[in-house]
Amino acid sequence: MKEKFTLLIADRNRNIRDFLQRELITDGYRVLLACDGRQVLKIIENETPDLLIIDLDIPYADELRVFERLQSAHQVIPVLVHTLPSAETINGFVQRAAGFVEKDGNNITNLKDTIIQVLRKHYPHRF
């Protein structure tokens, strides 16, 4: 990787956020954190993360239609859905996302691999 990628992680659980941050920083990413949809929007007003890793089960996710806002921003931010599988969350959101990883406590490599895949696809010139 020629350049440092900035990831925005949105998860309602602070410990998961912190854990993912720690893991991904170790891998050489710059990591931003958001605990709900509002924070996500607030952050992307000022910064442009390269990838949003979002758990669909966060507060204010639907009300603020985070996904639509991300798409309509001046720069399209790819979204990686990282969530617990349930019938409700697997909806149109996931289909429009750049990737989907089932949240699994026993395995983080899956998430890491998918992050690289999505980044490669969206920013091939930066590798």
């Binding site: 659980n13 410990n15 998961i16 854990f19 893991e23 089960d57 019938a87 026993n106």
Partner: protein
């Protein structure tokens, strides 16, 4: 039996209609009978009795005329003649009255004959009187002999007419008696049928409606308030309202529980992540490693329970497609290949030919198969064999079903808990969630089928998945 094919409703209605028919019919027959009796008596009194009376009056007036002329001969008193004239007038009146009661040719014949004979009698009698007045006593007496003959002839005729009238009255009486007899038979028959129908109806109501209603009322009566016979319907509707309220409560609790389960999963995932991290970084002793493994294991267990519970409380909608259950069996076996090997279980599939395709959700049905197979594997402690047989069966009502039978040679399921195994959260396994069979049964039910269990302790268990073939698919 044709009777069995008619619905209970129809049977009750039919019964009621017949009963109503009998009551109405009985009433109509009675009304008709009163009319006919009335007509009969009117005939009897107005006509026959009238005719008889008229005949009697004629007879009397004729009899009264007898001897008056002879009296006149003896004392030549004209009062006898005037008396004679009075009786003659009376007879005339009686005759015209008798003519009112002419209803048949026979009546007419009698009356006409009587009139003509009477007229000739009068003529003879008048002639007798004339002769007597003319002092021809001998000729008068002789002619009076003829008159006497004529008199008796009329008397005889009147008697005959009276007998005829009496006979007519008798026959009317007989007719009324016959009619009454007939009516009695009809009444008795109608009453017996009504009694039989009422009894049938009562039995219907008792066995098909009231008893079940009472049983239902008793079954649903959890408060124990309703102990004595009363209005079961009221009690039942009251209790049903209670049950609905309870169900709403259950639904609420279910939603709450699902919410709780959902919320638990995230922190649980967090815990798992940290354990994963710990495991990666720590150098652990053997005991510590064991402790660690147990913690991980139990967390996985909790996760499974929560996951199953969520699945149970929010069943996913079936994604139907045309699929052969044989393929589903193959897929499930493919998925479980390694686990089955680990359990040292051999699985044989008894398949004559591939089952036809039906409309089903392959993923959900696969889950049913997986659940059943894993259950069987876990039940057979140290290896064993599972036999899966596939059949297409025609049922009595000609509908066709696909039957997947999964038999194992494990310890079997005791009769006492056979019903309970399908209940949520019932588990005999140390690590069971108690939802596997509940979910399996529900999936089969959602496919319009049913899941049966046959087992005897010590003789293995047999789960039978019955899937109907919809009519359009045959």
């Amino acid at each position: 039996m044709i009777l069995n094919k008619i619905s209970l409703r129809a049977r009750v209605f039919l019964n009621l209609i017949v009963l109503l028919g009998i009551i109405l019919g009985g009433g109509l027959v009675m009304i008709w009978y009163t009319y006919s009796i009335e007509a009969l008596f009117t005939n009897l009194i107005d006509k026959d009795v009238g005719a008889l009376r008229a005949a009697g009056a004629l007879e009397l007036n004729l009899a009264n005329q007898k001897g008056l002329v002879s009296f006149y001969f003896l004392d030549k008193d004209s009062k006898w003649l005037s008396q004679l004239n009075r009786y003659r007038r009376n007879f005339k009146t009686g005759l015209s009255k008798a003519k009112q009661y002419i209803f048949s040719d026979i009546d007419k014949g009698y009356i006409d004959q009587i009139e003509s004979e009477y007229n000739s009698y009068l003529k003879i009698k008048d002639h007798v009187i004339e002769l007597f007045m003319a002092q021809e006593k001998e000729a008068a007496l002789k002619l009076n002999q003829d008159a006497r003959l004529e008199f008796f002839k009329i008397m005889e005729l009147l008697n005959q007419y009276k007998t005829f009238c009496e006979a007519r009255i008798n026959s009317a009486q007989n007719e009324s008696r016959t009619q009454a007899e007939r009516l009695r038979i009809i009444a008795v028959t109608a009453m017996s049928i009504a009694v039989i129908l009422s009894v049938t109806l009562t039995v219907f109501f008792m066995t098909k409606i009231l008893d079940p209603l009472r049983k239902l009322a008793l079954e649903t009566d959890r408060s124990g308030e309703w102990g004595k016979p009363g209005n079961e319907v009221m009690a039942l509707s009251h209790q049903v309202r209670g049950i609905i309220k309870d169900m709403e409560k259950f639904a609420l609790v279910g939603n709450l529980a699902a919410g709780v389960a959902h919320s638990i999963r995230n922190p649980l995932t967090s815990v798992k992540m940290r354990l994963f991290s710990l495991e990666r970084n720590l150098e652990l002793s053997l005991t510590q490693k064991e402790d660690f493994a147990v913690v991980s294991e139990e967390i996985r267990h909790i996760d499974t329970i929560v996951q199953n519970f969520l699945e149970f409380s929010r069943p996913p909608k079936l994604k139907m497609q045309m699929v052969s259950p044989s393929d589903i069996v193959d897929n499930a076996l493919q998925l479980l290949r390694h686990r089955v090997e680990a359990y040292e279980v051999t699985i044989t599939v008894n398949r004559q030919k591939k089952l036809p395709e039906i409309l089903a959700d392959p993923e959900q049905l696969k889950e049913v198969m997986v659940n059943l197979i894993v259950n069987a594997c876990e039940a057979m402690v140290s290896g064993g064999s599972i036999m899966i047989s596939e059949e297409e069966i025609e049922r009595k009502d000609l509908s066709r079903i696909l039957v997947l039978t999964l038999s194992d040679n494990g310890p079997g399921i005791p009769t006492s808990i056979q019903e309970k195994v399908f209940q949520p959260f019932f588990s005999c396994k140390e690590e069971g969630t108690g939802l596997g069979l509940t979910i399996a049964e529900r999936i089969v039910t959602e496919h319009g089928g049913w899941l049966d269990l046959q087992s005897r302790e010590g003789e293995g268990a047999r789960f039978i998945i019955n899937l109907p073939i919809a009519k359009g698919e045959q």
